[in-house]
């Protein structure tokens, strides 16, 4: 019941954000990792000494207004589980003769970037060698996977936490970092969704596919003449004004968020129209003809180039190749490697819009991973099944170069990592999704949140 002090209507987005922290639900969250995020945001946005300031709305608004250089993050997730023996954990040496691996690997020629001998690469990812050569790159192998089931393992790699049931309640690492950013697209999600948890209330992402992103940011009626498009905009505005003029205070307040978000759209059309469409040259460069999803790489580059966003998540499906491995997994890896190569080349050639002295390759960290890798032996249908280990390629800003982190044994089992070399896996030496996510959060200035995810980091990546 309205007692005259509480608003009996839906609060605006800003009001919601500003009061969000004070709710009992958030009180619960405060005791968990979110509390650390909120405190960290307060510290970062408002300066030290404002620990009591739990005003996420203000923080978010400030973030939206910040136009200075910020570290960018692109997370590429290969859904289904990639076969890492074709990629960054290749088969050579004793592995070729110990019977643990499929004999076909013996016919594969392995290569490394000319100046980076540690980054030995299988035939699936050799098209990305120029990219590995051109920017700092590390390979991370031997990430422990407790449950090699798709949803559970993907969730663990993306969020660093286990999910109970199928509902992914914790936010992905990109979604968490995006809460420190603002604007129309604090986080751009291409090709599929990532777990968002409560972050959707704080920093709703822009979600689409690379091929559709340009269309989403193109004003309606764009095929009409400019005067018609102008008339459309004016008519819609006039219609809304007539409606608005018929409303009482309560109704107006409940529509405030809608009105506010309309301004976002006007700005989006003004700033990004026709800038994020993939032209034929881009489609050729990213080989969109072979796989339409590779347009997501091109769209991510355009979104960074035009400063639509600073955080991108991309998901590519199709890697769950239980049949015909050589004709399903391998071509898919090659398509991703080619597109990754084009992406890195474009980042290198593009100044960061917020920091023109540096290229986007200097300011962007790229993480490519998958929920798990696949078995060393083929199954009865010449495909592969799930294996309890995962891998990641980490490139770009802040990354140490030419390093191989973690590892798997001669038979493909997960090993531990002591910061220098693979060692026997123990509770202390094991690296996994949670340590990877914590390491990334730490790198992006969210150390307190990272501590809630894991007390350990993977040493040697950054």
């Amino acid at each position: 019941m309205n007692d005259g002090t509480k608003k009996p209507y839906h609060p605006s987005r800003r009001q919601l954000l500003q009061t969000f922290a004070a709710t009992s639900a958030l009180g619960t969250l405060h005791r968990g990792p979110w509390g650390a995020l909120i405190r960290a945001a307060s510290m970062a946005g408002a300066g030290a000494g404002t620990m009591g300031g739990l005003d996420i709305g203000t923080q978010s608004a400030q973030a939206a207004e910040e136009r200075g250089p910020v570290p960018r993050l692109v997370l590429i997730f290969l859904d289904g589980g990639w076969n890492n023996y074709f990629a960054i954990d290749p088969v050579y040496g004793k592995r070729l003769t110990n019977g643990a691996f499929e004999s076909v690997f013996a016919s594969h020629t392995l290569r490394a970037p000319p100046s980076k001998p540690n980054l030995l690469t299988g035939i699936g990812f050799q098209d990305a060698l120029p990219a590995f050569d051109s920017i700092p790159t590390v390979f991370v192998n031997g990430l422990n996977v407790e449950i090699a089931a798709h949803d559970a393992a993907a969730n663990y790699l993306l969020t660093g936490r286990s999910a109970i049931g199928r509902t992914l309640t914790e936010p992905a690492v990109t979604a968490v970092i995006a809460t420190k950013r603002g604007g129309l697209a604090s986080h751009l999600v291409l090709g599929g969704s990532v777990p968002l948890g409560e972050t959707i209330q704080i920093a709703a992402p822009l979600m689409t596919t690379g091929n559709a992103l340009g269309g989403l940011l193109t004003p309606p009626g764009s095929q009409f003449k400019e005067e018609t498009r102008q008339a459309l905009e004016e008519a819609l505005s006039a219609h809304n004004q007539v409606f608005f003029s018929s409303l009482g205070d309560k109704a107006i307040a409940s529509l405030q968020a809608f009105v506010d978000s309309q301004k976002d759209v006007s700005n989006a059309f003004k700033n990004f129209a026709n800038k994020l469409n993939l032209d034929d040259e881009m489609k050729t460069r990213y080989d969109v003809a072979s796989n339409g999803n590779m347009g997501d790489f091109a769209a991510a580059w355009l979104a960074l180039k035009h400063d639509l966003t600073t955080i991108v998540s991309i998901r590519f499906g199709g890697f769950d190749t239980h049949t015909n491995e050589l004709n399903s997994q391998l071509p898919l890896q090659r398509q991703v490697a080619l597109a990754l190569n084009a992406f890195v080349a474009d980042l290198r050639a593009t100044p960061d819009p917020r920091d023109p002295q540096n290229s986007l390759a200097d300011t962007t960290t790229i993480v490519l991973t998958s929920e798990f890798t696949r078995t060393a032996k083929f199954n009865d249908t010449a495909g592969t099944d799930h294996q309890n280990s995962a891998s990641a390629i980490i490139m770009g800003r802040g990354v140490r170069d030419n390093r191989l982190i973690g590892g798997t044994s001669e038979t493909g089992e997960v090993m531990g990592w002591d910061g220098e070399k693979p060692v026997t896996k123990t509770e202390e030496t094991m690296i996994d999704g949670s340590t990877l996510v914590a390491t990334l959060l730490d790198q992006f200035g969210l150390g307190e949140v990272a501590n809630q995810v894991s007390s350990r980091r993977i040493r040697g990546i950054f």
């Binding site: 959707i200 018609t228 309560k250």
Partner: protein, 231 residues
């Protein structure tokens, strides 16, 4: 006490009947006036202010609404709303998002604009095709889409028989505009809205030289409007 003689023409019983019948007639006229789809009889004209709490329509409600109000049956687009745009419109997939949001974001607005435009185009084009096949239209039931238009001041220079034809079309135009308002917003347009929409229709007709384009523009404005999306 009777007005005249007991049992006469104006006996109390007859008077009651007369009053009842008169009351019914007057009541019907009032009701007709209130419910009329004619212009100028909206809540705005009557100074009524809406003061309820609005929330963003859910994607499920949106899909059902366009299916029933516009007879929209493009399965591909309907499915894509529920798959590709579900979260953008505040929906829940119970996998990555578990809490429905009635608070629009920039993404919601972009999606609303995109969908409103796509649906407006498809609805109009479908009815143009049906019109060509002499089959019943789905949403544009009152008008010949490619022909009818509002009567313009310059039309007075035209021969009387052409003017007559345009005026017939003008009536159908207004009937169709009313029809779209009732279908999508459950009310007739106000005078100001008729003026606004007619201005858009004429501007689009002048620049694109197509009444079909004009109807797309009009339908887009209704489908993208704040009133349509907030219930």
């Amino acid at each position: 006490m009777g007005i005249t003689l007991k049992g006469g023409i104006m006996s109390p019983r007859n008077l009651v009947w007369v009053l009842c019948i008169g009351g019914i007639i007057v009541g019907c006229q009032v009701a007709e006036g209130l419910l009329s789809k004619k212009q100028g009889t909206t809540y705005q004209a009557e100074g009524i202010r809406i003061n309820k709490t609005f929330g963003l329509m859910t994607p499920e409600q949106f899909v059902e609404n366009i299916k029933s109000s516009l007879n929209f049956d493009d399965e591909y687009l309907l499915e894509s709303i529920m798959s590709d745009h579900l979260l953008a419109l505040g929906g829940v997939d119970f996998r990555t998002v578990k809490q429905r949001s009635h608070i629009p974001s920039g993404q919601s607005q972009l999606t609303i604009h995109r969908l409103a435009w796509e649906i407006a185009q498809k609805v109009v084009e479908t009815d143009v095709i049906l019109e060509g096949k002499k089959e019943p239209p789905r949403a544009f039931t009152e008008v010949t889409i490619a022909v009818d238009r509002p009567y313009l001041p310059d039309d007075i220079r035209l021969p009387p028989e052409i003017q007559f034809s345009i005026k017939q079309g003008d009536r159908r135009y207004h009937a169709q505009l009313n029809e779209l308002y009732w279908r999508l917003l459950s009310r007739p347009p106000s005078d100001a809205e008729v003026e606004n929409m007619t201005k858009l229709f004429i501007q689009t007709l002048a620049s694109e030289n197509s009444a079909v384009a004009s109807w797309k523009a009009v339908l887009f404005v209704l489908l993208a409007s704040m009133e349509y999306w907030n219930i």
